[in-house]
């Protein structure tokens, strides 16, 4: 198969299949978690569960800073690396021009897009922080025990997506550029398919778990 045919296949039927798979997979997992069938709690609520759940969804990321100094002292790499990685990766996913045009197709409106220079800064910060976080996982005895194949595979895959994307935008090496684009799009498609059935789906379940956490906090009437 020649490069352009492969490109047409990846950004045509394969990307479409991946998007279907992604939305179906996320909905499937979401329903499975929702219908786990936890036993009913008959205790009378001491606070307002719904209000607390909504508050936690809206404010939890800011409330975490109350423990910043305490936690930062022990988990600095995770704090800084995690922040840089998430800002970089999400920024690249939504606000790189080529991705913004794709999002317009999917969600109906075009997110504002950024110049290449900003995208480059985000890509470098995401790549280096991803590398640091992965190394940290390998050498930190506690994290090492908590880390499975899933995390390593996800980190490598995301690293390939970012690296090939960065390389493709800076490419000036002739006709092989199409293969570079192919590699970028193929790794992105694999990532899209992989997300629903891996821990990467935490970006969806985060809200569910925070809601659940807030609901319980509200029910017990505690302050955090």
């Amino acid at each position: 198969m020649i490069d352009v045919e492969f490109y047409d296949f990846v950004r045509g039927p394969l990307l479409e299949f991946a998007l279907y798979f992604f939305f179906a997979g996320i909905a499937y997992r979401f329903l499975r978690v929702l219908l786990l069938g936890l036993p009913k709690d008959y205790a009378k609520p001491k606070g307002n569960p719904l209000a607390k759940a909504i508050e936690k969804i809206a404010l939890k990321p800011t409330q975490g800073w109350r423990f910043f100094m305490e936690v930062f002292a022990h988990r600095g790499i995770q704090y800084i690396g995690g922040f840089l990685f998430h800002v970089g990766f999400l920024g690249l996913t939504f606000f790189v021009p080529q991705h913004a045009f794709l999002w317009k197709e999917i969600i109906g409106f075009e997110p504002p897009y950024m110049p290449q220079l900003v995208a480059d800064i985000l890509a470098y910060s995401a790549l280096f922080s991803l590398f640091a976080l992965t190394v940290h996982r390998v050498f930190n005895p506690v994290l090492k025990l908590l880390t499975g194949k899933d995390e390593y595979f996800a980190n490598i895959l995301i690293g390939i997506v970012i690296f090939t994307g960065l390389f493709a935008t800076r490419w000036s090496g002739g006709g092989l550029y199409v293969w570079m684009l192919n590699l970028h799009m193929l790794s992105a498609v694999i990532l899209i398919i992989y997300i629903p059935f891996s821990r990467l789906s935490h970006f969806v379940y985060y809200f569910l778990s925070v809601f659940f956490y807030g609901w319980n906090v509200g029910k017990r009437g505690v302050s955090f």
């Binding site: 020649i2 352009v4 045919e5 490109y7 047409d8 950004r11 045509g12 990307l15 479409e16 998007l19 279907y20 798979f21 992604f22 939305f23 179906a24 997979g25 996320i26 909905a27 499937y28 997992r29 979401f30 329903l31 499975r32 219908l35 786990l36 069938g37 021009p97 080529q98 991705h99 045009f101 794709l102 317009k104 197709e105 999917i106 969600i107 109906g108 897009y113 950024m114 110049p115 290449q116 220079l117 995208a119 935008t169 490419w171 000036s172 002739g174 006709g175 550029y177 199409v178 684009l181």
Partner: protein, 345 residues
């Protein structure tokens, strides 16, 4: 038979013009400066190349482009330089006389002539016949004793528009019809005239074909993408895109990616050689490249949509369909699990 040098002189051009042509061709072919004397010597001494030009399922646009290859060689010189023994659009004779002259040329220049093919071929069926013979038959016959086969245009190189879905005539590119034979592909709709001339000059001067890529295209001209050599690339890098045709941004040179430019996946020399004596090329005129020199470009569809979007579109309806399938599967399996757990109790 006249040499190119003699033709230049006869047409009133100076030796300086001839040397300019030779140096430009050497540079265009990506040959080192040390090859310049060799090229000049060959063009001064070798007889002009004999070309038999066959047209099948085409629009004659490639022929038009060929005779307008004015950047390196004036048209009046070109038509004298190449001994066009047979070309349906350009030749004076018609009907039986034309066919006879082709037959005669094929006999006289056996193993020496260059066969140029324009248009796609239909091995099955009689969709394109000339003088009672099918195009496939004519191609086989002409290709048998040729020195080189050159497919010009996307129709001859890849099948082009005749081969586009649903391909009613069963069109195939020349290299498929001539399996096992080396075919040089010069794709484009139409290809750049100077590229066709330079390829023929390379064969004439050095006695061999130029280095080709894995799809049979001369690497010198098809080794890089349009995107790599585009003068609007700086705007692409800066994230500045034209929103529609001929808007203020497009006129200011902003990148045409958003209005459908396929430059990033298209290999051709348009941004460097350009057209009409180096005057312009589609992107310079404000139209996005639609990738005419890549295989099956017409079937790619989405000509005026960005390269990064899903070709068939992916909107709210498709999201809802995906979510519905996933939700139904999730709820169904959860219900079955509940029943099974209930059964165990």
């Amino acid at each position: 038979m006249n040499t190119l040098s003699e033709i230049f002189r006869k047409r009133g051009y100076s030796r300086r013009d001839f040397l300019k042509f030779a140096s430009l061709t050497t540079a265009l072919l990506g040959l080192p400066p040390s090859m310049f004397p060799e090229i000049v010597h060959a063009l001064e001494t070798k007889p002009k190349p004999v070309v038999i030009w066959l047209e099948f399922q085409d629009c004659a646009g490639c022929s038009e482009s060929f005779i307008r290859s004015t950047t390196i060689m004036p048209t009046e010189v070109l038509l004298d330089f190449i001994s066009l023994e047979y070309h349906e659009t350009l030749m004076a004779p018609a009907g039986e006389y034309a066919e006879e002259s082709k037959k005669e040329a094929m006999e006289r220049y056996k193993g020496k002539y260059i066969l140029v093919v324009e248009g796609s071929v239909t091995p099955n069926g009689v969709y394109c016949t000339v003088g009672g013979k099918s195009n496939y038959e004519l191609l086989k016959e002409a290709a048998e004793n040729t020195a080189a086969v050159v497919s010009v245009g996307s129709c001859a190189s890849w099948g082009g528009i005749p081969k586009a879905e649903p391909n009613p005539t069963g069109a195939v590119p020349v290299y498929e019809a001539l399996k096992g034979k080396q075919v040089v592909n010069i794709p484009g709709c139409p290809p750049i005239g100077d590229v066709m001339v330079a390829t023929i000059v390379h064969f004439l001067a050095l006695g061999k074909l130029p280095p080709l890529d894995n799809l049979g295209r001369p690497k010198t001209f098809y080794g890089q993408t349009i995107h790599d050599r585009c003068y609007r690339r700086a705007f692409y890098n800066a994230g500045k895109f034209a929103e529609s045709f001929d808007d203020e941004k497009a006129r200011n040179g902003y990148c045409l990616y958003k209005v459908g430019c396929k430059g990033p996946i298209t290999r051709n020399a348009c941004p460097t050689i350009r057209w009409n004596g180096g005057l312009s090329f589609p992107i310079q005129s404000g139209h996005p490249c639609f990738g005419c020199s890549e295989p099956d470009f017409w079937d790619r569809g989405f000509i005026y949509r960005p390269l990064s979007v899903v070709e068939t579109g992916f909107g709210v309806e498709k999201i809802a369909a995906g979510v519905a399938v996933g939700a139904a599967a999730g709820a169904g399996i959860a219900w079955i699990n509940k029943k099974l757990r209930g059964g165990k109790k």
